[in-house]
Symmetry: C2
Subunit: 418 residues, 2 copies
């Protein structure tokens, strides 16, 4: 099979890509099935699948530009789907509390992470970077867990989602500042411009977007193309993701806002929700597996690296739990705990910070490994605790789905609506 024909058709680039997709999806779903049977969150199983097929264990699939892109598209659609289930009014209702949770959940981890690294003997710039890596919650992971548990409507979920959006914006601003420091000059104009754009964009889409789209809905329904509302949603999701990225907010925030802006307009259209959810269902495993694939276990041959990774993970969990929990203390201990634990996963955001640090040469391979470990570990630690914190409160829901691995309602199941 060596003719150019087979090079182009048989064993070519596209075949490799299809093989990558096959391995990632099959591995994700096999481990998810095992985790469900062990009554553990499927999300953790899918991340673990990435660790197993990645370079550290089997080496079947290496994280590449392609898998990163696929993962990003996956998390974009995940946030869009979550946004669709999130009415702006529900977020505004918790807006003030979410803002307090977000701000405390940014300050406490940043300061503690910074001080820990200074105490560990790292330089000022390195300490700033590690502090920054602790700042931003992975809204993707939290959203996936809450959605898989059928809890997107819970009051604490609203706070978590609202706070995660705010802390993502704050995190990106801090990253811009720290990157400027690392590059040797702070560009105040750029930072202020970015901040203004980010806040303006978010406020505009959340406030004006929803109203415009609710008025537009009948027109969208009347389009001649098939499934016009679904198609419009896909285009809006991609468009606002790109707009957000160009403005300096993360693409996923744009996708979330696109979904939220459509939440009320699409309320009468369960078919559109089902279709979006199917696309997300297909794409999300690639996001989760790709996170696991980032983990390189070989930097942990050094005992002190292991120690630092564990300490940083403990700090990462504790500071979000304390910071965000304090912010939400008015809701009582249990719900404050739900909020704090919900904000714990760092997932892809921590990894992006570490990658930038590496590209700026302020962080070495070993510190990069430590941040990755923290990002993946916080992501894997949170789901079981979240499940436990919600399950004990939510006994009624458990009874409804008692045959379904402890009340877990798969995300795709809002297909049952129609």
């Amino acid at each position: 099979m060596t003719t150019p024909f087979f090079a182009a058709v048989g064993g070519g680039h596209t075949t490799e890509i299809l093989l990558t997709l096959f391995i990632m999806l099959a591995a994700a779903k096999i481990t998810a099935e095992i985790f469900e049977r062990l009554k553990q969150p499927a999300v953790v199983g899918e991340i673990l699948a990435g660790v197993i097929i990645g370079g550290s264990v089997l080496g079947w699939v290496a994280p590449s530009e392609f898998t990163n892109t696929l993962a990003e598209i996956g998390v974009v659609f995940l946030l869009f789907t979550v946004g669709l289930e999130t009415k702006p009014s529900a977020i505004f209702k918790v807006g003030k509390l979410a803002a307090i949770v977000a701000v405390l959940g940014v300050i406490v981890p940043f300061v503690c992470g910074y001080l820990l690294m200074l105490a560990w003997g790292e330089s000022n710039v390195q300490a700033l970077f590690i502090g920054t890596a602790l700042v931003a919650t992975s809204i993707g992971i939290t959203a996936r867990v809450l959605s898989a548990m059928g809890l997107l409507d819970a009051p604490t979920s609203r706070i978590i989602l609202g706070a995660a959006v705010i802390d993502d914006i704050l995190g990106l601003l801090i990253l811009a500042i720290v990157s400027s420091v690392a590059a040797g000059k702070i560009d105040y104009v750029e930072i202020i411009t970015t901040a203004a754009l980010a806040i303006g964009f978010t406020a505009f889409v959340a406030l004006v977007g929803a109203k415009v789209l609710t008025n537009l809905a009948p027109t969208i329904e009347r389009l001649r193309i098939g499934d016009s509302f679904f198609v419009f949603g896909l285009v809006l999701c991609l468009g606002l993701s790109v707009a957000a990225a160009y403005i300096g907010v993360a693409a996923i925030i744009g996708a979330f806002l696109a979904g939220m802006a459509l939440a009320e307009a699409s309320e009468e259209n369960p078919k559109m929700h089902r279709q979006t959810s199917a696309v997300t269902e297909f794409l999300v495993p690639f996001f989760l597996v790709n996170i696991g694939m980032q983990l390189k276990l070989d930097v942990f041959r050094d005992g002190s690296t292991i120690l630092l990774a564990i300490i940083l993970t403990v700090v990462a969990v504790a500071t979000k739990l304390v910071g965000c929990g304090l912010g939400a203390m008015s809701l009582g201990w249990r719900r404050a705990g739900q909020v704090g634990m919900g904000m714990t996963p760092r997932g892809e955001v921590g990894i992006v910070v570490a990658q930038i640090g590496l590209s700026l040469a302020v962080i070495n391979d070993s510190l990069y490994g430590v941040v990755l470990f923290m990002a993946v570990a916080t992501t894997m630690i949170a789901p079981p605790f979240l499940k436990w914190l919600f399950a004990t409160e939510d006994a009624a829901k458990d009874n409804i789905d008692s045959d379904d691995a402890g009340g877990i309602v798969a995300q795709g199941d809002f297909c049952k609506i129609g």
Copy 2:
């Protein structure tokens, strides 16, 4: 926005990809809407969108490895969805007729294309390549058009799909032979091995696969992961696509067979069909737009190139119409015409042949442009005629959907099942 932070997050690779997705999807759907309003097939509109945003007109998106991959994934899912609607028994019923249609539809275009190019003064190898480019029907385009018209169940549709699968396999074998000739040596062992593998794989999946999966269905339903049947289908689709590609059949044939093998097992599961259809609905526009983007209009500054392109297109249409039509003549004139016109689009298969010819340096840019023109033109010519040939026969169906652009039922509409 020049810090590494923005390079990584703001204007980075992933943002570009999201922008590409946005432009391709938005352009596809805007032109599709215009075409629907003009009572023309949306498929043609989406291909035209590719011509417009591609290098020949606006130059917004260039065909790249990424868009080709995306297109391939799109057509893989399209064929999987079509396979899901195609029960093996329905194909076996028309098997003999489909085989006759396929064989005549391979011989007539190949011989006529070869002779035309010799008469035009091209070399023997070039003529062989152009003949080969005329051989294989684009099952993707035909399937999309039939599915958009709600005609996958029509008897002629079964013949077209069966014949397209067979002629794809024959086309790939001829391509392997012609590539060997171009490389200066014919590797008979490889050609026979490929032929045996291709036929064996197709027969095995079609005959054994369906039975195995029908028996497996209750087990798949019992899995704990959400939407287990949908997920299983996705994994099977990707797995058999890869297997087909490695064996030397096109990936899309594997996807089609995966769908067909699941068609009976998934009959009781309309939700799985709806979910798969949503993923396909999202991905297919990228396949169609990418075909249009391949067309480079600037090679047509030369009058004789235009003339050759037009003659080759006429030959491409006439030979499939005559070859396949002759094969199906037992069904009467109109249905023979439907089959012949249904087999006319060359789409991505003709383009693949041209690309291989270019990579082997047997075809120059101008001949490449001619083949691309033929591939895109046959793809755009067929849908309106198909629509007309079916619509005049299918007057009853028209009345049911009379407000819907001449009886067009959008593909996603089998979501109405549930």
